[in-house]
């Protein structure tokens, strides 16, 4: 009980204990740690301490990445379906509009809860900054929310659902230009689904920033896959006409296309990520969640499940539809969590950050010798230490 020193501080970053935990996390056993005899600059890290700070985000954020993603995905599909999907996709459009509104309503809540100062959430609206994906994303989410609200209202009025068709509000809602708004909503859906990837990529965290250019597209692909999965899953609930089946098949196809895109982008991302940096997504708990859950279960399995039927042009069994859609959604969720959590681990790993920030020695910065040559010639060799406090 006098052992206060062992209590964690700053998320366990700073304790001997924390050091040990971190060491274990990074694959080194306690035994290896014990061998660290003296507190020295073993290797060239600063006592194996993190060089950068991981985000403070709690589970709300990866969950939002997922929810927002689903919303963005359905919005993209729903919007396009409204524009070009014809009558067959009316139900798709309707569901998409409602789901999008749902996502647009939950998302800000998740984001606001996670703020250090939630009552100041509106400060986000003080500025728009292209350099900050979070700022861009805020405006995208806001617009998405408004458009989704409008579209959902329009839909509700048409459906005579909650909003009475002939009430003045209902009339007003029906007056909204739903086609242009569908285009907008689809575009905002892309924004919503993609910006989160950029958000992660535009940080100093090695795992995210390496191959960062792929993270937006990758997130977007998952978004679309999840959107399609959500629509497919909800479509399954009703016994439909052949038209409905067709629409469902098309949506399944979108899911497969985005699934393939996901797989392609994942392969590229892996290829671009060096082992030290990619470690947390390859091993450890989150590595397993990612590999088995996100990639295996969420990308490969659904594609594998759907593809036989789709290649043969046959309608897909309900069980397979449900299984594939659920796997995609679960995989999407796993992917968001795994990437965020593995990113935190990568932030804590000084070796990963060193690898990430390694330059060609001397490439960015003149060497000591070059600097000495560049130094202006001086008369003396002294620095003023004691007598310089004349300021």
């Amino acid at each position: 009980m006098m052992d206060r020193g062992r209590q964690g501080r700053r998320d366990g970053q700073t304790t001997l204990q924390g050091d040990r935990q971190m060491h274990e996390r990074q694959g080194g056993g306690v035994a290896e740690m014990e061998m660290r005899q003296t507190p020295q600059t073993a290797g060239a890290t600063y006592y194996n301490r993190p060089m950068i700070k991981k985000p403070t985000w709690r589970w709300f954020i990866p969950f939002y990445f997922f929810i927002g993603g689903v919303g963005g995905g359905v919005a993209l599909i729903g919007g396009l379906a409204d524009l070009i999907g014809g009558q067959r996709h009316r139900a798709t459009v309707r569901r998409a509009r409602y789901i999008a509104l749902g996502a647009a309503m939950i998302s800000p809540l998740l984001l606001i809860i996670d703020l250090g100062r939630p009552q100041r959430f509106h400060h986000m609206l003080r500025v728009f900054k292209a350099s900050s994906p979070l700022s861009v994303g805020t405006w995208v989410l806001l617009s998405f929310g408004l458009v989704s609200g409008a579209q959902a209202a329009h839909q509700a009025a048409e459906d005579n659902f909650i909003l009475r068709r002939e009430s003045w509000l209902g009339r007003l809602a029906r007056l909204l230009p739903s086609k242009p708004l569908s285009l907008l909503q689809a575009a905002l859906g892309v924004g919503l689904g993609g910006y989160t990837g950029i958000l992660l990529a535009a940080t100093a965290i090695p795992l995210w920033a390496t191959a960062g250019v792929l993270l937006g597209p990758f997130f977007l692909a998952t978004t679309l896959a999840c959107g399609a999965a959500a629509l497919a899953l909800t479509a399954v609930l009703r016994r439909g006409t052949p038209e409905d089946d067709k629409a469902r098949a098309e949506i399944q196809m979108v899911a497969t296309i985005s699934g393939v895109a996901q797989i392609g982008l994942e392969v590229a991302r892996e290829a671009m990520t060096p082992p030290t940096i990619g470690k947390p997504l390859r091993s450890g708990t989150w590595g397993m969640v990612y590999r088995i859950g996100a990639v295996g279960g969420g990308m490969l399995a659904p594609v594998a499940l759907r593809l036989p039927a789709q290649l043969r042009g046959r309608p897909m069994g309900r069980a397979i539809t449900v299984a594939a859609a659920s796997l995609t959604l679960a995989g999407g969720l796993a992917e968001r969590f795994a990437i965020v959590e593995a990113g935190k681990q990568s932030a804590d790993d000084p070796e990963a950050y060193q690898e990430f920030s390694a330059g060609q020695p001397g490439a960015a910065r003149p060497t000591p010798q070059q600097q000495a040559l560049m130094a202006p010639k001086t008369k003396g060799v002294k620095a003023r230490v004691a007598a310089s406090d004349t300021r």
Binding site: Q37, P39, V381, V385
Partner: protein
């Protein structure tokens, strides 16, 4: 120095940047070593061997500063032929009394004459007076042999004495590799001479030893041989401790000194005349002694000090021969019931005092004690520490909150003898009062109580002048009036004297401390408060920046910065010189500093054959405080443990003394062989006790202050060094399977202490006499209360003292060490219960039958106790704090810029 005097160290850094070579000699590689050019490891307690080795190097290689040594030191003086060196007597000098562990020093004197010292405990401890003894110095200068050939001359004695201190011997004793030692020797000698000087800085790494004084003596000998005393860039600089610790030796809080290094009278000094006779040096500056003591007594007793009543001399308490009320013996007196009450002003020895467990126990034997401190320190809480049942403690404790430095006006005297005045920034809160307030009001109340007493013993109390003006709501004494009294005034009209030259022995002047005389030369003109630098191109050693005692002199004995003819030794080292053109062609001393010499005494002036006082010194005798005007390579008087330093092992040592197998430790060291103060082995000559195989040294960290009373309550400091740790080398750690962060337990005969291990290569195993000695380093800042707590390192230390100044040996002892926590488990009392007291309760009767704690509060909540804001801080407090902070900082800012 970087660790403990970081602000002073900036000048070292500046010097390094200007090309000076910095050498650090320390058992541990510290922050100082990290910034030094050369680091020499040394085993704790072996500095005399190291410095002696340097002396031998200088003598053997003929590197001493010839003219300086010949003219300015006592190298040529002939010593009594009865004198026998330690080299002759296997570890003791002539005159040793085995039973008493002391010397009869009569054989150590100059041939045929006894020579008084400027200051020292010798007289107080031996009762010897100089002038009563054999021959008087005014009968002529001591016999000398200017050729330095006489076997009895100091130079030859010195040479023989240190001949065995070879680089090999240094390595054997100190563990310092020979080539490192030789590099140090080369650097120092190359950097000394007419054109260059070397300075030595030391602090308690040298003093806290059973040979503490002799450590400094060894450095003094070396510096005299190299001509580095009294010259710019030279000297031996004591880096003192607390903010005004220098001040509290000048105007002492010591049992055996009066202000200005005047010794306390002994019972044997029955009359004032006896007393003066004992202390007045017949030759040299201290011939003026009567002026200073009479002026002091005039300041003490005013009108009640007249020639007829011996200037009130009889009011002074007198010490009994050999009855020592020094700090450590005091505790044994408490232990034995001879001391009933105690005032503690700003000291926390329950943690900071070596032998602290014994000291806490001793306090429990007191009837009462008063602790004045801004913090509720462990010293005020001894009654509940060590798991004692407060009911069993009968001591009545008065805790009085003290005002902080910023809450009072006054001066601090720093390490370079600079008096710096500071102004009060704010009033003390609640019941907190300054020391001046407390003493003045206590004095007033006591005088009131005894107003009508006719008892002889109460007379001193009633006779003293006690009329300091009181000001303001809390009736704070005007400290300026104290300053004026210290600086001195003319009794007739109350005008200030300009300096000690104008003090008289006829009762016409009063002066509270002669060496401080002149710092308030006129009422309202306080030179300690001046803050003016030299203008560019001006050379006065920043003489208008505060005021240095004595006489605003920045470098003592600066007459030695000029050659015997009065010219600077070199242009580069010009400081004070004789200028014949001054004083209407009669010449005078002048320069960049206030000359430490009679200003009009020409360098060529001869000593008067039978003169008194300064007349007995010639124009080229710079060391005017010494009776012969010469720097003492050999100290014929004033030291209890020998006229020359010689290497002894610490009282507790892991090894034998290779120089004197029969005399391991200082034979004069003051030890206390008592059950409450056990030693690890026989302190004088036992063989090392294998039970305690490691050398242990204690020290400070930059992040904390001494007993931690002022830093362990401070969040910002405590987080920087939160736990007691011990520094051990990797080899020892590997042997014991210890890693950084593990608990280890260190044990001595006094007890055990648990600490975290800090395994570091900055500690290295040392090879001593072919044997590996591990040194364990233990900072001593932790104690049982505070925002961070830990075991008390001083619980490990025995009381064993230097015989001259009674300083403890906290820097070198032996111990055992093992992995794991101490046996008793968590026996450290927690910081808990006192919290209620702090919240403002006046009397804590939690221990109602036993110890009673009368507690006065500062009424400012946690203010002095934790400076940092609590970790979880509500938003408003941040803003409020931010608003409050700039105003105070701004004031200090303005002053610094």
């Amino acid at each position: 120095m970087a660790e403990c005097h970081p602000v002073g160290f900036r000048f070292v850094m500046e010097a390094r940047e200007r090309g000076a070579k910095i050498i650090h000699v320390d058992p541990r590689y510290t922050r100082t070593s990290a910034n030094a050019d050369l680091y020499a490891p040394i085993r704790p307690g072996s500095d005399i061997a190291f410095l002696g080795g340097l002396i031998n190097y200088v003598l053997q290689n003929d590197l001493w500063f010839k003219e300086y040594v010949l003219r300015y030191t006592n190298a040529s003086t002939i010593i009594n032929s009865d004198f026998k060196d330690t080299e002759d007597l296997e570890g003791v000098f002539s005159g040793f009394d085995e039973a008493d562990h002391s010397y009869d020093t009569s054989s150590w004197t100059y041939q045929g004459m006894s020579v008084p010292t400027a200051a020292g405990q010798h007289q107080a401890m031996t009762g010897e007076s100089y002038s009563h003894r054999i021959q008087r110095a005014e009968e002529g200068p001591p016999p000398r042999d200017e050729t330095l050939q006489d076997p009895h001359c100091v130079f030859q004695i010195l040479k023989r004495h240190f001949a065995r201190y070879t680089p090999e011997m240094v390595e054997r004793i100190c563990g310092t590799p020979q080539d490192v030692f030789l590099e140090v020797a080369k650097s120092i000698t190359e950097n000394s001479g007419t054109d260059r000087t070397t300075a030595f800085c030391y602090a308690v790494g040298w003093t806290q030893h059973s040979v503490g004084v002799q450590n400094i003596r060894t450095a003094a000998i070396l510096q005299l041989l190299l001509g580095n005393i009294g010259r710019p860039g030279g000297g031996i600089l004591a880096l003192r401790g607390h903010a005004a610790i220098q001040g509290s030796t000048d105007i002492p809080t010591l049992f055996n000194l009066l202000p200005g290094y005047i010794q306390m009278p002994l019972e044997a000094n029955e009359t004032f005349e006896d007393f003066v006779h004992t202390l007045q040096a017949p030759t040299g500056w201290l011939y003026n002694f009567p002026k200073y003591i009479v002026s002091l007594l005039k300041a003490f007793y005013g009108e009640n000090a007249t020639r007829d009543n011996e200037w009130g001399y009889q009011y002074l308490p007198k010490l009994k021969q050999n009855d020592i009320y020094s700090y450590f013996p005091m505790f044994f007196k408490m232990m034995d019931g001879q001391m009933k009450g105690l005032f503690v002003f700003g000291e926390n020895f329950a943690v900071g005092g070596p032998g602290s467990r014994m000291e806490r126990q001793a306090m429990r034997k007191l009837n009462w004690c008063v602790v004045r401190d801004p913090f509720l320190v462990e010293t005020a809480e001894f009654w509940r520490l060590d798991d004692v049942d407060p009911v069993t403690v009968d001591t009545e404790v008065f805790y009085m909150p003290a005002a902080w430095g910023a809450e009072k006006d006054g001066s601090l005297t720093n390490t370079q003898r600079l008096l710096q005045w500071h102004d009060k920034a704010l009033d003390p809160p609640g019941d907190a009062r300054s020391e001046t307030w407390f003493m003045v009001h206590l004095g007033m109340r006591l005088r009131d109580l005894y107003r009508d007493s006719a008892q002889e013993r109460d007379k001193p109390l009633l006779a003293m002048t006690w009329d300091y003006p009181l000001e303001g709501a809390i009736q704070e004494p005007r400290v300026e009036s104290v300053a004026e009294e210290i600086s001195g005034y003319r009794v007739a009209d109350g005008t200030q004297v300009p300096g000690y030259h104008e003090l008289n022995d006829d009762g016409s002047t009063a002066c509270g401390c002669w060496i401080y005389s002149g710092y308030v030369p006129e009422k309202g003109r306080n030179l300690a408060a001046s803050r003016e630098r030299d203008k560019p191109g001006e050379h006065t050693n920043n003489s208008r920046w505060a005021w240095a005692w004595p006489a605003n002199r920045r470098i003592l004995y600066n007459r030695a910065s000029a050659d015997p003819e009065g010219n600077p030794w070199s242009e580069r080292k010009r400081l004070v010189w004789w200028d014949q053109s001054l004083n209407d062609g009669k010449g005078a001393w002048t320069g960049y500093d206030v000359p430490d010499f009679e200003v009009q005494k020409a360098p060529t002036a001869d000593a008067a054959e039978q003169g008194l006082g300064m007349e007995a010194l010639s124009g080229s005798d710079p060391f005017i405080m010494l009776a012969d005007g010469r720097g003492w390579l050999y100290a014929p008087h004033g030291l209890r443990d020998g006229p020359l330093p010689t290497h002894y092992e610490p009282l507790e040592s892991p090894t034998e003394n290779p120089l004197y197998p029969a005399r391991r430790s200082n034979p004069c060291a003051m030890t206390f062989n008592r059950p409450d103060n056990p030693y690890n082995d026989n302190p004088y000559h036992g063989p090392p006790n294998p039970k305690y195989p490691y050398a242990l040294t204690t020290y400070r960290l930059t992040e904390h202050h001494t007993s931690g009373a002022m830093s362990r309550w401070n969040t910002w400091l405590s987080e920087l060094q939160p736990e007691l740790f011990a520094e051990i080398n990797p080899q020892l750690a590997a042997e014991k399977g210890i890693q950084t962060g593990d608990w280890i337990t260190i044990t001595t005969a006094r007890g055990q202490v648990q600490a975290r291990a800090l395994v570091t290569d900055r500690m290295r195993p040392m090879r001593i006499e072919g044997q590996t000695i591990h040194v364990i380093g233990l900072p001593y800042h932790w104690g049982p209360t505070g925002v961070v707590t830990g075991d008390v390192a001083n619980d490990l230390i025995a009381v064993g003292l230097d015989p001259n100044v009674m300083i403890h040996e906290a820097k070198a002892l032996t111990c055992d060490m093992r992995k794991g926590r101490k046996e008793t488990g968590v026996a450290i009392p927690s910081g808990g219960p006192h919290a209620s007291v702090r919240e403002g309760g006046t009397i804590d009767r939690s221990a109602s039958e036993g110890a009673e704690m009368v507690h006065f509060d500062r009424h400012d909540g946690a203010r002095p106790l934790t400076t940092g804001l609590p970790r979880r801080q509500p938003e408003p407090s941040r803003e409020v704090a931010r608003e409050a902070a700039p105003s105070t900082s701004e004031t200090s800012e303005a002053r610094h810029d």
